[in-house]
Symmetry: C2
Subunit: 240 residues, 2 copies
């Protein structure tokens, strides 16, 4: 396969979460996932309902389309999915093309698969999924990815979306398992990803809950608690 299965290309918009929160970026959302999280906010990437919208694109075509959309109004690209880590050489080529143009590249992936091109990513986030997702973490795989990244000196972050107490226990376990990771994030799950109305009050309420949890818990002293700002501002509007 020499092409990238693209679900959406959009931007410029603002990265609403994680280690580059607030940064202007273009999004490349790939189709296909090895997970099916119960509360996935991008289930259309894997549930088949929009499979007719997937475009198989050459890496250079993806870049051309980003430049057409964003002109000179960006210098950062975020790769997300679905799980972009399912894609090998075409994504490696795309990342190289972005860097040749002077763009930084961020990646979000759950840590279930490794790719050589992870080493080239400027802001890499591993986001293992907690019990409420109904997915099961393969810790042998996650350990090996973390080890490989740390051996190469990649400055990645861990981000865990949490919904309930079992998820918080999972977050403690994961953060405790990898104490040398410099940046760790907790983020409230958006459990209203299918709601077409204004979900900002709901999201602020969930952020308040998570702030209060973190404040009381010494296990989360060096964790950063952040919302999904894009969902606060634009609710579930697509391509934001």
């Amino acid at each position: 396969m020499s092409k990238i299965p693209v679900m959406e290309l959009f931007g410029p918009t603002i990265q609403g979460e994680g280690m580059v929160i607030g940064r202007k970026t273009m999004f490349v959302r790939t189709a296909g996932c090895d997970y099916q999280c119960a509360w996935c906010d991008s289930a259309f990437t894997w549930n088949g309902l929009e499979s007719d919208k997937v475009h198989q694109m050459e890496p250079a075509e993806v870049l051309d389309e980003l430049v057409r959309l964003g002109e000179d109004k960006f210098n950062h690209v975020t790769i997300t999915g679905g799980n972009p880590a399912l894609i090998g050489k075409p994504m490696a080529d795309f990342v190289r093309l972005c860097h040749q143009r002077g763009y930084e590249v961020g990646l979000e992936t759950q840590g279930s698969r490794m790719q050589e091109w992870f080493y080239e990513i400027d802001q890499l986030t591993l986001s293992p999924k907690p019990p409420s997702s109904m997915m099961k973490t393969d810790f042998d795989t996650l350990d090996s990815i973390v080890n490989l990244l740390q051996e190469r000196g990649v400055d990645f972050s861990l981000k865990i979306a949490v919904q309930d107490d079992a998820d918080l226990n999972y977050a403690r376990e994961v953060f405790g398992r990898y104490p040398d990771v410099r940046e760790k994030f907790l983020q409230p799950v958006n459990n209203r990803a299918n709601d077409s109305g204004d979900i900002s009050a709901y999201l602020l309420n969930r952020l308040l809950w998570l702030f209060e949890v973190a404040i009381q818990d010494a296990d989360f002293n060096d964790v950063r608690v952040l919302p999904q700002l894009h969902a606060m501002v634009w609710s579930n509007e697509r391509e934001r």
Copy 2:
């Protein structure tokens, strides 16, 4: 003077803005300011209405009080004001004591005064004030502070609160003047700092405005647009 004029000590809470947004921290808010910004959200530090609440405290007393309040539930301290840069040796001593206990220390200051202890700060934010504040930036002083920090390799950030188009022009000027600063932030002014009700909808609306401005403007490609999360979640509640 061997003491620190303390207006408030509080926490643990969540740092709601800037380069350590989302991080759990304790706040040390000093009394006194060389500025009187029109929309200052902490005017009680300088307008005299709460001057009877100022405590002159030894650096070790401040630390003891933080530990009493936060126990083992923090490892980060934020120094803010007022303008903490008005304070010399007592603050240098306080920063050293924090580091001896293993706490990181963040500072927010407008860049109108320099102190030697700035070099010891883990996350330093210079926040020069735009025209809507009614203050006038002394660029000779700001230049010299930026130069000193850069010569010493301090990884500081610039953060500019903006309310209108004149403020955006000011932000372009400041960011353009210091192109080598790695992290630059834009933040909507909270112009309802004296409102006792829920200001979250107002703040989200201002964030949306600033997102849209940044998205359209190539001058802000590498700027991060962030809100004041504490004000979204807790409105203007004190000691949050």
